[in-house]
Symmetry: D3
Subunit: 244 residues, 6 copies
């Protein structure tokens, strides 16, 4: 879009969708950019449906626990916090008073929520309202994940995210070895937010990068279903947010 | 404890419990320091049970959304992140290789988790392992909260937290007016992490500071039950963590 | 690519290309993302030629002087500096010892060069070597720009950059009004690096966003020529750098 | 206090007392938290006398020179500066226009005074006025210290501070060995502010953590006298400050 | 000196003298650069006597309380802290293991001491030892100040500092009006470190910039005496420090 | 000048000249402070001609690539950026609405330009306008450099800068060995801004600190010519800037 087109857009809508992913290993067959692709592809589909601007995807984010795997790029959470904060404030200055963040990487949540606190604190009533959602935050999406893969969905390098990129980017690498290794539900809980450990331990625990997942189950057909389910849920949520 | 006593302690245990609260309004009858007291009192009870050092409570934390209420003190999330990070690193340098953070304020979670990322990233394998738990993260505790107050527990200035401080600090102010106002479950979801809004809006939405809660239901007797339930769950969780 | 494929790549090449653009107004017919697209499209073409990994494009960068135009997003130079620094260091930790930055936005240069200083200072001999080049840094490219547009190339929202995006992304908006306004060469010199002024003044000086340029001259055919000339020069330069 | 009570308090007083201590070794018989306890106990006594709010104690502060002793926790001076600054600003936003800092740890002074500069610089005439006093800044207190211990008071882990905690917290550990070692007055001068040295040297110079002090002389009775003398001086000083 | 000469110097001495001043009003007849000149001139005299390198003077420092007077330049204390810290660390990396800071501006002390803490904390045993002294820290100097001016020496824009610059730089402006105004000793105590107030109040309290001083008493002859007394004391102190 | 004199000055001129140099090796016969002296001496000469205030010289700046040579002092680019930014903002607050930066060290440019971006972004229309010029940015000066030394001028520790300090400070050390070593023009291009390398490599490439220069050609007579040519060009440029 040109600057003039953005000016026109802002006359009828205060909303923008910001996809946020990561660059990190996703097991033997998942792409480094899996999260970035998932966020971007879903956001693009949503943007078309709801007539929303989709901003360029944030790809470089915190991912220290995967730094023992080649290709992962990680920035400090506090650096990402400041960068994200600056971007959101700049959206706000331009009149985007509703910023919908579509996230695809768990470790982004903490710095983005911390940034949200500081944006509200510094800009006060002039701050753009933020809504931060991961594409798996919706019941319909999770039902589908469970239906397709059950407990083999796992926590990282899941067949769901791999399937989405297989569908959107036509890159299927299931021919590569990808051995499933179950992990206890206690272990999963410990690692889903409150007890990630340093990179070296992480690779020791999960040598091939899959965390309780069996990414070889992914197919482009599944990806299509997941993409559409996610886009539908996000679209509904975006509209409720932007018109609130 | 003296420095010598800490030296001895570290020979048999790498663990320390760090309570983290806040200073913010808790409705008409809750204390400004409710969160700090809850975290500190539960931690002290746990420390006695499991022979763990309980470090002094962190009270000054991010609470921008309550800044329209007198007595709330809020620090920027990024400032708290750096301060928390410095403290944990210093624990680590002293040999505390297991730091159990007992939290009592939702807005602390994001900056503490972001800090955890950076501690692991900077210290690597020398980093102390962190476990961040809020006292309401346990099934037993939540069952009790529901049993006692049902949906009138609400989200902020809940009768549970008020009850705990009534029991531990013998300060009962239920004679003050405290009118319950229900909020929709959608509203609760929006405000529990992903769509807090700036301070002025927050007070407009919740004029007396209660967010869907009815703190007047609190009694010291409830507080005793809650305190003990929380301490029991935390003690079990701490032992699993510190011996892992 | 998967993590395993990156691991293999690093066995035979230490190089990576990082495109860096911006999100800012580019006059009446240029896209907000013109710089990001130019950097990304040229880098992609180069990557195919020289077998180099092309990392995702950095789009959110300093652009304060265009903040009076809708759609521009600007982050503080010091925030971008830290973010860029973190990314380069992470590349270095992963074994990318030659990072070729392909730039398409003048205001990026200062913070990236400042970051380069600090990366070398902090990582010393372990730092990845950086080469920062803008796509217009090459004689062949500039000869073509002059041949095509003469002095109507101007300084910002130039027909060259618009032409490239017309070719690569098939978006032609020359039907929109785009009035050329010459500026003195002294004025151009003042604004090319050492005396940019604040956003309000900037828009007052350049009401339609063109700085001495006549972007309506752009055609997709020119874009193809420019893209290829730039990619050829960059490819040669990249190979010299990565094998040095 | 509840938020309503704070609101009422601010109608008649702009003052708050903020105790600031440290967590660091205090020799063979002094507690890690000696400074925090001294500041808190004196402040509490003062608060009761002069009807002032006493805020929670800041315990985690710069103490690098004692990091070779177990149990010391130290944060960087610049991190503490920012945290302290954020707290004071938040007090100011809430209407506390007179913040009296009661200090008990020498190394806190520099970062707090530096923060004061920046608070005044950034908030200007809206800044709360700060008064930073250590409990030993008063003639009456020092006369008593000299009377009780003469030159054996020393510089760190002094019998005075140990005595205060013995009285307030009923923890007497004089049975532990605590050998007095005199240091020259020149040495004391060098170490009282302008030439602290790194942690390893510090422990080499003062192997048991006492710096020219004989903490074994402490008794709870002395503690009571010192506590009361300090509280009386501080109360007078607070009233002069808050009503100025 | 050339780099080769510094290399030789470091073979026989680890010391360097760093003068630190300020740019701020010094009353009706004192120069903006009075502090910078005092520090530099004394340091130069000392350097000649004791064969020490004198580094260039730091002139831009925190001086917010004088910002209501034209010509004052002030940087935030936290920014000065980081800059000073970087300089000292760089001296340390070059082998200057004894850095003697000769100060001439009270507000520099807090950030420099805070920086010292962090330098020792981060560099540990490799940190250069710092000694921070103001030129008025010596008994001989103070005796002379009292002898010459008694209580009219005051706190800021003192005749002593003015006299030194009159002697060293041959700039005598006593013909300008400079009305003495006594301030109570209580007032002086409040303003000497622990209760500076914001710039606007400061000028309201001290309309002509003199704080209890009568700078018109200054003469170049006094300046010579003061300069020599200060240089003698500093030289002795430097030698004790550098050879310790 | 006194504060009153600055007040008067600001009534007729908004301009100030800020010289910025460095402390770094300048080959076998150049002084560590060559850049600082060049900037300061030229600025002083200009100041006298155009009736402009010349502020004290900034000497401590980024110079990591010369840290392998004794006597170089380097601060991180990001730290220098913040310090420079604070100084310029303070000039702006005092009414200096035109700040002319006279630079003499290439590595200063990036952080100063980045700071300029942020100053404009944060202060907006109230920001002082900045003009950043190096003394070699003028055609007349460069013609003279070429005339005097041809390609032996080189890139660092050039005879020109050495000559200026020989003239201004009467320090001539040409008797020291200074062997000229030509470098290819490609090499020079790589090192003039976009591919500086870490300090250890830098010294390996340029063992005696000269980068393609033959500083032994310097004479005080050349220095006088260069000083005057630079001052003349700068004076003209300053007047155009300050009256624009």
């Amino acid at each position: 879009m040109t600057t003039g087109e953005v000016e026109d857009y802002l006359k009828h809508s205060p909303g923008v969708i910001l996809p946020v992913g990561s660059l990190e290993q996703h097991g033997p067959i998942g792409l480094i950019g899996t999260d970035a692709l998932c966020a971007e592809r879903i956001a693009t589909l949503v943007g078309g449906t709801v007539d929303a601007i989709v901003a360029p995807t944030l790809c470089y984010t915190p991912a220290q626990f995967n730094m023992s795997f080649s290709g992962t790029v990680s920035v400090a959470a506090k650096v990402f916090l400041s960068y994200f904060e600056a971007i959101i404030k700049s959206f706000g200055e331009q009149g985007f008073q509703r910023v919908y963040v579509l996230n695809a990487h768990g470790a982004n949540l903490a710095p983005m929520q911390a940034a949200m606190h500081d944006i509200y604190s510094e800009m006060g009533i002039k701050a753009p309202l933020l809504r931060i959602k991961s594409w798996w935050d919706f019941d319909e999406v999770n039902a589908l994940r469970t239906e397709l893969y059950g407990e083999r969905e796992g926590l990282h390098a899941t067949p769901s995210e791999v399937a989405i990129t297989q569908y959107t980017d036509r890159i299927v690498k299931n021919e590569l070895p990808s051995a499933y290794r179950a992990v206890s539900s206690q272990f999963i809980r410990d690692h889903s937010g409150d007890k990630h450990d340093p990179a070296v331990l992480h690779r020791a625990h999960f040598p091939d990068g899959q965390v309780g997942s069996d990414s070889a189950l992914a197919t482009p057909e599944h990806g299509e279903l997941l993409l559409k389910a996610a886009a539908e849920s996000v679209a509904k949520d975006y509209l409720a947010f932007v018109h609130a």
